[in-house]
């Protein structure tokens, strides 16, 4: 087992880089899981927009409107936003407020005399959905108040009546099966794995294979008495062991981050999918090691290939945001199938069992194809 042992001696040299990727992965995931678990609505919720308000009128009408809007939407932290252009620009750009409402002096008088059209300034990014929502709430309240004012009620009565009328809401239900828009954190974990696993395999395994492929080293090994078959067998064994070790590290990280969510039938499927993807990553590492002979080029390839697949296959950016043509191209990338399987496990585990296993099968086929290409490249080079 000389080759097997030296495989790990060489691998040991690259553990620094591998640990770096692992740390980036863990810290990113911790951020994502923390932020996504904060907003996990069960059932339908009316979407709330954040607004800031500057009330220069200070009358019953303006205060009633603000209190109504604060109930239906969320009032942004007033301390941060000031009635100055730069402050408003920052807040709108960073989406700390979807709209900033400025109520001018004399607003109530105009509302009573029926001349209130267009008096309130709404500063926002024109055309966004959130700005429409807050504007329609504003119009709804004032329209209703004006209706009651015209019917002869006083301002105090009209705002109370308007609030009662506006409390009438349409019933909203979700179909059976509930909300299908937010991902579970176990999905987030395995989805991001599609990026970091490839990075790790190329920086680790491909670097080692490259060393064994160096001309002088190869020549020396070939003219030694060491059995050629055993040499290859031990290299393969080394690759498999490394793959399993990396998977093992991810399982440990997963258990720590996800707190037991892995121990379920769902978790089992995710793990199986991960193993399939590990085979793909090993095959890519094999191919890459045959293409290049320089170490620094490896880390370039590792980053470009893994980030490219992560962006195009729906790992960093959800599939529904990608354009049709990108998705078509992504069908030719193994990470797409890995992510599809993970998506189906997350949303429709029982209905789509067939397509989950099909996606895993496609990954294995990709792995075989990539290995064959690697062998052809190798043959061409040595011939």
């Amino acid at each position: 087992m000389q080759v097997y042992k030296s495989f790990f001696k060489v691998l040991n040299k690259y553990k620094g880089q591998m640990i770096m990727y692992l740390c980036i992965f863990c810290s990113l995931l911790t951020i994502f899981i923390k932020t996504s678990s904060a907003s996990n609505p069960n059932g339908y919720k009316d979407k709330k927009c954040e607004f800031a308000v500057f009330d220069y009128d200070g009358t019953a009408a303006s205060m009633a409107m603000i209190s109504y809007l604060s109930e239906t939407n969320k009032r942004a932290d007033a301390g941060v936003i000031k009635d100055e252009k730069i402050s408003m620009q920052n807040a709108l750009y960073n989406r700390e407020a979807d709209a900033i409402i400025r109520i001018p002096e004399g607003f109530e008088d105009k509302l009573v005399s029926g001349e209130a059209e267009g008096v309130i300034d709404v500063i926002t990014i024109p055309g966004t959905q959130n700005s429409m929502l807050i504007e329609s709430d504003l119009d709804g309240f004032l329209g209703m108040t004006e209706l009651y004012l015209k019917a002869g009620y006083s301002m105090e009565e009209a705002v109370v009546k308007a609030e009662t009328a506006l409390a009438e809401t349409a019933e909203v239900s979700l179909p059976d099966g509930g909300d299908v828009s937010s991902h579970s954190s176990i999905y987030t974990f395995f989805s991001y794995l599609g990026w970091v696993m490839l990075c790790l395999m190329i920086t680790g395994v491909a670097s080692v294979l490259q060393v064994f492929g160096r001309k002088e080293l190869k020549d020396r090994i070939e003219c030694s008495s060491y059995n050629f078959l055993n040499f290859n067998k031990e290299l393969l064994l080394g690759m498999i062991t490394t793959g399993l070790m990396i998977c093992g590290v991810f399982i440990i990280v997963g258990v720590i981050l996800l707190k037991g969510a892995l121990f379920s039938s769902e978790g089992g499927l995710y793990l199986l999918n991960m193993l399939c993807y590990a085979v793909v990553c090993l095959s890519i590492a094999f191919l890459v090691s045959k293409i290049t002979s320089k170490q620094e080029i490896l880390s370039m390839i590792a980053n470009v290939v893994s980030l490219g697949m992560a962006f195009l296959c729906g790992i960093f950016v959800p599939v529904e945001f990608l354009s049709e043509s990108v998705i078509k191209v992504a069908h030719f990338l193994p990470a797409y199938w890995y992510n599809q399987a993970a998506l189906n496990i997350d949303f429709h585990m029982h209905e789509k069992m067939g397509s989950i296993f099909a996606a895993m099968g496609v990954q294995i086929l990709f792995a075989v194809a990539i290995v064959v290409i690697g062998m052809v490249v190798d043959r061409k080079k040595t011939a």
Binding site: V119, V172, V326
Partner: protein
């Protein structure tokens, strides 16, 4: 001697390829991936488009809601795309995500897949129908005399008046796409990675690190000539690299950076300068091996640009709200802030301030590095 060294330093860097990859090809590849995958999110996700909705109605009785829905689905700026369906068809369409929601017209009820802004708009249409219905009944019921035709008409016309009480204003004509932050951060990363070149050049000056360093040390030339000519040659090179990246992103990808190109180019020039200066100071640490220096630079580059929104949007803003001083020191944040302020504000105050800070930082770093390198003597190598 100056020009000789200037020329050769450029040649060496170009031939080594590594730093050109990390400062030019990698940022371009990253920008392309980002552009392809979320260049259109703002259009898809945030901008309003008309909503596909299924309507289930028995059609037996006169229904005021159908009148409202018809009114909303006509004309050029229509709000809804309505398809009338049976209940089963509608549920299938909802499941296949062909429609945002189902309106049950008979009992004024809505079914949606998820909580979203579009779902809220649908909900508000139905709710406002119910609210008007309630208000009309309420006002009619409280009239002292029985309502005559004229009263009813007056109330109905008030309901239908549909007054808009607000004037919508925008604070800026510029690009409000917050995903631009990522592209700004790519520039910051690329500028900081210029440090790979200068750390290489500095190691070629130190006798304990390279053969070239030994030769240069025994040459009668002053160290300051070497440092200045190396630095300027790399500055020209990386400035060109950044210009190519800017040209690529703005013309090939079509990302809107605004129209203040001279100021953006100045940002990239000063950005390359600070990136190189960081490499110079790390390179001047005599006791560290070359590999260790590269490791430190990678960490510095990634952490600083990560704090300027390279990985997750919103980090920079969070720092701005809690520890604003960090954003005034972090060169990556200063670079992205230059782009942001050029795109958003009309005046140049913040921009000039950022440029000044970066210029001062790079001069200070280079002066310190020069102090560290000059008169280095080696007992034995």
């Amino acid at each position: 001697m100056f020009w000789h060294n200037f020329k050769n330093c450029m040649k060496v860097t170009l031939k080594a390829k590594v730093s050109i990859f990390w400062t030019l090809l990698f940022p371009i590849a990253l920008a392309t991936f980002m552009y392809v995958s979320f260049g259109n999110i703002m259009d898809n996700e945030e901008m309003f488009k008309n909503i596909d909705v299924a309507v289930v109605s028995s059609g037996e009785e006169e229904n005021g809601l159908m009148v409202v829905i018809d009114a909303l689905s006509e004309g050029d700026d229509k709000l809804l795309n309505v398809k009338e369906m049976s209940e089963a068809e509608a549920k299938q369409a909802l499941k296949d995500e062909k429609v945002t929601g189902i309106i049950f017209a008979d009992d004024v009820r809505l079914m949606v897949n998820e909580s979203s802004a579009n779902a809220s708009i649908l909900e508000s249409i139905l709710s406002s129908y119910k609210q008007n219905e309630y208000a009309i009944k309420d006002i009619m019921g409280n009239l002292e005399t029985a309502p005559n035709e004229a009263d009813i008409m007056a109330i109905m016309s008030d309901v239908m008046a549909d007054t808009s009480y607000y004037t919508e204003k925008s604070t800026s004509d510029s690009n409000q796409n917050m995903y631009n932050n990522y592209f700004y951060a790519i520039f910051a990363m690329s500028c900081l990675f210029a440090a790979y070149s200068s750390v290489g050049a500095i190691s070629n000056l130190q006798a304990n690190e390279s053969g070239k360093g030994m030769r240069k040390c025994i040459s009668p030339n002053s160290k300051i000539v070497f440092i200045v000519s190396d630095f300027l040659s790399l500055l020209v090179l990386h400035f060109l690299v950044e210009l190519i990246a800017l040209l690529y992103m703005s013309t090939v990808l079509g990302i809107e950076f605004g129209d203040k190109y001279p100021a953006m180019i100045l940002t990239l020039f000063v950005g390359s300068m600070i990136g190189l200066a960081i490499g110079v100071i790390v390179g001047a640490i005599a006791k560290l091996g070359f590999g260790g220096k590269i490791g430190i630079l990678t960490a510095i580059g990634l952490v600083l640009s990560g704090m300027a929104d390279l990985f997750v949007n919103g980090v920079k803003r969070a720092i701005e709200l809690h520890v604003p001083i960090i954003n005034k020191i972090n060169p990556a944040a200063l670079i992205t802030d230059c782009f942001y302020s050029l795109n958003t504000y009309d005046d140049y105050t913040i921009f000039i301030q950022n440029i000044m800070i970066m210029a001062v930082e790079s001069v200070v770093l280079i002066v310190i590095a020069f102090m560290m390198i000059r008169r280095n003597k080696y007992a034995s190598i």
